[in-house]
């Protein structure tokens, strides 16, 4: 249990997840109010990771449901295990014939079998899927519904019952209520706007790219032996790259990869040659790399001409003005 907002920050920090007060407040509220959290934001800012560390920190089992197009109830909630049912019927054939042995008519026999319905439609033959497991678990769990924006709109509607009441309805058995209330995280990359009904039932958390100070701290936490200067340089450069108009903006994990790569190359500073050689660690499209290269050359030139700190502001302004001119045309 988290006792307070600051508690969340320190507990998650101990597990190597550096977060600001905004994130911590929402996590704390999710626990206190028993409400699902919808986490949105660009890819790679640690949305899934947040759910994982919260689970570890609260010592709850993490049950993860990865969403994709075409995901349906049978894969998310439960499924009848037909083949097992079939197998049981085969094995129990004798018993079944015994049961209906002294019946006179077909109707009577059917009634007899009908009475035994519940044997075949019971927990025994249900394959629980993640949602069901999260709800029926004896121990409180943490349910992570990942990339919910990838699922179909119908699936979203189906989630509503679970999210608001923590219960599921199986026609043959009845309504199953949660024994313990799971903490629920939903993540979304904003591929599509989630419905208002879903949003209403959730607390909302928008995680954006961290500011420079926070990102340096994240670097420190994740790569313990990183040199302070290198961390700062990498993060500063990263923020400049993010400000470019790229097809895929590099995320925190790319920052980490890049810092590791530079360390492996024994580079103690950011020089043009090294940067150019390692750009493909952070940028995944050929066009982006080309764009960044031409921009970086300018940035680095300016940086070496003046003191490094002043460079970004001076560099950004004309670039924006140009973009605007383009629109006007």
């Amino acid at each position: 249990m988290f006792e307070s907002v600051d508690d969340v920050i320190s507990d998650l920090g101990a597990l190597g997840y550096i977060c600001d007060k905004r994130i911590a407040t929402v996590v704390f509220l999710a626990q206190q109010l028993n409400k699902p959290v919808l986490v949105e934001g660009p890819a790679g800012v640690g949305k899934t990771e947040l759910a994982k560390v919260v689970a570890t920190s609260l010592k709850r089992e993490l049950i993860r449901l990865q969403c994709y197009e075409g995901l349906d109830e049978a894969k998310a909630l439960y499924e009848w295990e037909y083949s097992k049912q079939l197998l049981y019927t085969q094995i129990l054939k004798d018993k079944v014939s015994e049961t209906i042995a002294e019946t006179q008519s077909l109707a009577e026999a059917a009634d007899r079998v009908g009475r035994e319905d519940s044997v075949f439609f019971s927990d025994r033959f249900i394959v629980p899927r993640p949602l069901m497991r999260a709800i029926t678990s004896e121990e409180p769990t943490l349910l992570l519904i990942d990339e919910v924006d990838k699922s179909d709109p119908e699936f979203e509607a189906f989630l509503l019952e679970i999210l608001s009441d923590f219960q599921v309805t199986i026609p043959e058995i009845g309504t199953i209520e949660a024994k313990t209330q799971p903490i629920v995280f939903l993540t979304s990359n904003d591929a599509r706007e989630m419905s208002d009904a879903l949003k209403r039932r959730c607390l909302h958390l928008w995680i954006d790219y961290p500011n420079e100070e926070l990102e340096v701290r994240i670097l420190d936490a994740k790569i313990p032996n990183v040199a302070q200067q290198l961390a700062e340089d990498v993060v500063a450069m990263m923020h400049k790259i993010r400000s470019l108009d790229l097809k895929k903006t590099p995320s925190i994990s790319e920052t980490l990869d890049w810092a590791r790569a530079l360390m492996a190359l024994n580079s103690d500073g950011i020089e043009e040659q090294v940067v150019n050689d390692t750009l493909n660690v952070i940028l995944k499209y050929e066009g982006d790399v080309a764009k960044a290269q031409s921009e970086l050359a300018k940035i680095l030139d300016a940086a070496s001409a003046q003191e490094p700190e002043e460079a970004p502001a001076a560099e950004k302004a004309p670039e924006k003005a140009e973009a605007k001119k383009g629109i006007l045309h």
């Binding site: 407040t25 929402v26 037909y82």
Partner: protein, 472 residues
């Protein structure tokens, strides 16, 4: 506190952020769990429970500042520089206050100070804030509607506070202190300070009333701006509006895509798929426990776009292209052509993914045509007929965008006739109003017989309506 949160919720609603009752209750519950001393935590709690869309966050932050924190900061500011305001007096305020409070202890009961006077003297800002809020409420400040009423409501609030009275009491106090033998220099300083305090209070009240006006009007302005954008003619967009319009277009495209995906699902069940059914049920001895149906696919249309990019209609072309490429998945294939007089294909410009820069490039002629000539629709259609007619089949929708102002050239309507006879349908979007079609050098009437749909398309609202029609 509760009342204020309810009021804040209403304010959000009026500004166009949808906050349901359940979300309001969540906010209350959230605040019970937290200490609200910390403004940041307080703000985050409200935001997490009430504001769920990325694009609403900035509105929320603005309103939050306006409603919760801004005024206190302002109060602090106007009282904070008392020392500066008294600067030319060259007197130590702290020791003056010290001396005064010692003397006041001696005269107990002789002078009667109101709550406000006491709060002013001690500069208890939190108390002052609460008093201003209460007085403003009693003065009916929430009814304020325009700038002209600021003076009126400030006056009423001051009367409600009895600021005059408090000022008088304080001056009496100074008088008394003088009688008790305080030095004349100190008394002068004290009187000046009292004046200044009352003046600061007056200013804060005015500021509060102005804020009240802003909060009331915020929603009004914002809504106005959005409405405008939806209905504003493409001809008169400023640079800034074009940027904002891009986002609106993107959102609209997104919404239509969502609707499409739902509709597609509804019609997907077709005939029994024997092959799949057998395969799936092999584990059960071929007994068809699970029945698989064939998916029936609605044909996604092929789209051919012909865009007039002459300067008069460039903006309309821009948003239409953005819209269509925003909906790329809804079409099997989009081919786009631009023309002024010559016609050129720009499909490949869009290959690289960055739609916005591609559009700018296409509007610039995409390196294939010269945009600095005069419109000639007949020639463009003839070019298309000669070189590209073969790409049109009976599943192709041809979308033409232009004002049909042909500069008295040959209209060559027969080219469009041939295109029309091969295509599934021909849609013409004209940014001019229908009353102008066919007049002057407009040859719209010549092309009319060969179009299935002709729509006026001058603003975003019309554009999105048309897109909806084409797709469904």
């Amino acid at each position: 506190m509760q009342a204020r949160i309810v009021e804040f919720t209403n304010l959000l609603r009026k500004s166009g952020i949808r906050v349901s009752v359940a979300e309001g209750i969540d906010a209350f519950r959230a605040l019970e769990e937290l200490s609200i001393e910390d403004r940041a935590v307080f703000r985050d709690a409200l935001r997490a429970s009430m504001v769920k869309r990325g694009d609403e966050i900035s509105t929320f932050n603005e309103l939050f500042d306006l409603y919760w924190s801004g005024f206190y900061d302002n109060l602090r500011e106007s009282f904070g520089d008392l020392e500066d305001q008294m600067g030319d007096m060259d007197i130590d305020l702290d020791s003056l206050m010290q001396q005064m409070s010692e003397m006041m202890q001696g005269m107990d009961g002789e002078i009667d100070l109101s709550e406000l006077a006491k709060a002013l003297l001690t500069q208890d800002l939190a108390q002052l804030e609460a008093m201003i809020r209460e007085a403003a409420e009693q003065a009916g400040t929430e009814r304020i509607e325009n700038m002209l009423q600021v003076g009126f409501f400030s006056r009423r609030t001051n009367e409600q506070l009895d600021l005059e009275g408090a000022g008088g009491q304080l001056q009496d106090l100074a008088q008394k202190l003088a009688e008790m033998g305080m030095g004349s220099e100190e008394i002068e300083a004290l009187q000046k300070m009292i004046q200044q305090l009352v003046e600061n209070m007056r200013r804060s009240v005015k500021n509060f009333v102005e804020r009240e006006l802003q909060t009331r009007n915020h929603d009004y302005m914002e809504k106005f701006r959005k409405e405008m954008l939806q209905e504003k003619s493409f001809y008169h967009l400023t640079e800034d509006e074009i940027t904002r319009m891009r986002e609106v277009v993107n959102r609209l495209a997104q919404r239509i895509k969502n609707v499409l995906s739902v509709r597609k699902k509804r019609i997907k069940r077709g005939k029994l798929d024997l092959h799949q059914t057998l395969r799936r049920n092999m584990a059960r001895g071929g007994i068809p426990f699970e029945v698989i149906y064939k998916h029936r696919r609605k044909d996604r249309p092929k789209l051919v776009i012909l865009c007039d990019v002459s300067s008069s209609v460039a903006n309309v072309s821009r948003f239409m292209l953005q819209f269509m490429y925003g909906l790329q998945e809804a079409f099997t294939k989009i081919r786009s052509y631009v023309f002024v007089s010559d016609l050129g294909e720009v499909t490949s410009v869009f290959k690289d993914g960055d739609v916005n820069s591609a559009i700018e490039k296409a509007l610039d002629g995409g390196d294939v045509i010269n945009v600095y000539t005069r419109s000639n629709f007949g020639r463009a259609f003839h070019d298309f007929w000669r070189d590209h007619l073969s790409i049109i089949d009976n599943r192709t929708t041809v979308l033409i965008l232009g004002d049909a102002r042909n500069n008295y050239n040959d209209a060559k309507a027969w080219c469009l006739r041939d295109i029309h006879s091969k295509a599934k349908n021909v849609v013409w979007l004209n940014p001019e109003s229908p009353s102008a079609w066919g007049f002057g050098d407009s040859v719209m009437d010549r092309y009319t017989p060969y179009c299935d749909v002709i729509e006026e398309c001058r603003n975003l609202k019309q554009l999105s309506k048309i897109v909806d029609q084409i797709l469904l």
